[in-house]
Each structure stands twice: as C-alpha cells, then as structure tokens.
C-alpha cells in the first residue's frame, strides 16, 4: 500500500469512526432517557396509588 493510499484510508476511516461514535453516543443517550422515563412513570404510578 502506497503512502497516498494509507492517508486516503485514514481520512475515510475518520469519517466512518465519527459516524460510529455518534451512533454509540446517541444509543447511550436513548438508554438514559429510557431509564429516566421508567423512574418518572413509577413516580407517577405511586402518586396515583396514593390518590395524589
């Protein structure tokens, strides 16, 4: 593989890596939102149970 090819693949990998990193970060965020939603739903159910 020539030097030019190495740099070309490095640039393409940077783009691919960035998209992959973004997907990982978004999946972590969705997981956090899901956990928070579950906590709030439980809190709302408890309030309903107490008649509040």
């Amino acid at each position: 593989m020539s030097t030019g090819e190495k740099y070309l693949w490095a640039a393409y990998l940077v783009l691919f890596g960035a998209v992959l990193l973004y997907v990982v970060l978004i999946s972590l965020k969705v997981g956090r939102l899901e956990r928070e939603l579950t906590t709030l739903a439980e809190l709302a159910r408890e309030r309903e149970g107490r008649g509040g």
Binding site: S2, T3, G4, E5, Y7, L8, A10, A11, Y12, V14, L15, A18, V19, Y22, I26, K29, V30, L33, E36, L37, L40, L43, A44, R47
Partner: protein
C-alpha cells in the same frame, strides 16, 4: 414538524445518506480517475469538501433558525438553532481532521498557518465552539435564547469571508476547484463529488433530526421531572 414526520424524515434521510455515501465512495475509489499531480490521495477531496460544505450549511441553518427566533419568537427555534450549531461544529471537526490528513500527504505538513482559507475556517470553527460557552454560562430562558440567536447570526457573516478568502488571496497552495467558469475537474470527478455531497448533506440532515429529537425528549423529561418533584 410533528414527531412522527420528523422520525420518518430522519429514517428516510439516514437511508438516503447510507445509499448515496456508499455509492459516492465506491465511485471515488473504483471509477473516478486519479489526479495527475496528487495521485490517489486527491480522493480525500470527495469527503473533505462535502464535509466542509455540510458544516457551512449547518451554520447557515442555525443562523436562519436564529433569525426566525428573533423575528417571531418561540422556544422551538432556539433548540433548532442550537442543534444546527452542534452539527456544524461536529462537521467542522471532521473538516479540520480530514483537511489535515490531506495537507500532510500533499504538502508534507499537518497545518499551514500562512493559508488564509485554513486559518479563516479555524476562526469560524472556534467562533461556533465558543457558542456553547455563551449558552452554558447563562441561565435557560428567553434571555439566553436571544443572546444565542444573535451570536449564531453574527457567526454566519464569517462564512462568505471564509469561502471567498481563497479567491481574494494570492500565492496560495490550497487548490481552487470551483471557479466562475465551472468546476476545474473532469465530468466523472464532478459527478462523484455531487453524489458524495448529496450523501453528506443527507447524513447531516439525518443527524440533525435525530439530535433534535433527543434534545426535545430531554427537555420534555426535565419539565416532567420538575412537575413531579
């Protein structure tokens, strides 16, 4: 835009981005001819320039939403402008990284300070990076929304300066590809560039809509948490 329409839009844009980028990069690697001067490393052009133009598009979109906020008011424009700046900065980082890789292989250096095009893009990038400092140093509310909108509008002035700098300056080593009499490249290269650019714009749009949905869900949950506390 309704939630379902936005989600469908994000799915459609994601599929378009995947199809166009796979097609564009395949064309770049297997079909587009190698540049006579730079050889195979010139093919970095097919991602570097579309990424840079997508960053500019995101900053323009942020300014447009900021203008709508100042003109009409409304929380939604603040979040939309903020998300667009967020996307612009991500694409800005990618522009700087891919540009540095290309500079290293073409010029033998990662960065050339004498190049006005590079320096102006760096200034634009740092200006929009400072947007987050402004935003997080002020309490949420209409005052922060207006200050952020004014900042986003000021930043957009730097885009034409950055874009035109290369045409106004002399003795540059950064190549000028798009001239007044059309693109200075073969038809197959230009077609490949157009496919890659369309793919990158679709990717930017999809990421913008996904990020916007996430930020809206976050804001709704925060409001719900405050009501239930």
């Amino acid at each position: 835009m309704s939630t379902s329409l936005r989600n469908n839009g994000a799915a459609l844009l994601s599929l378009s981005a995947a199809a166009l980028l796979v097609a564009g990069l395949s064309l770049a690697i297997f079909w587009a001819p190698e540049d006579a001067d730079q050889g195979i490393s010139q093919k970095i052009f097919y991602i570097h320039v579309p990424v840079a133009l997508t960053a500019y598009a995101a900053f323009f979109w942020a300014a447009w939403k900021a203008f709508r906020l100042l003109w009409k008011g409304g929380d939604r424009y603040d979040l939309e402008s903020y998300t667009a700046v967020h996307m612009g900065v991500i694409f800005g980082v990618l522009t700087l990284v891919t540009g540095s890789i290309w500079a290293k292989v073409s010029w033998g250096q990662w960065w050339v300070w004498s190049e006005r095009q590079l320096t102006l893009f760096l200034i634009l990038f740092l200006f929009y990076s400072a947007y987050f400092m402004l935003r997080y140093s002020t309490d949420p509310g209409p005052r922060r929304a207006r200050a952020s909108a004014v900042y986003a509008l000021f930043g957009v002035v730097l885009i034409p300066v950055s874009f035109l700098a290369i045409r106004l300056a002399e003795g540059l080593i950064h190549p000028v590809v798009f001239k007044r009499d059309g693109p200075a490249m073969e038809g197959s290269m230009f077609l490949t560039f157009c496919v890659c650019f369309a793919g990158m714009l679709a990717l930017g749009g999809a990421l913008y809509l996904v990020e916007l949905s996430g930020k809206r869900a976050d804001a709704s949950l925060r409001a719900l948490r405050e009501r239930l506390a």
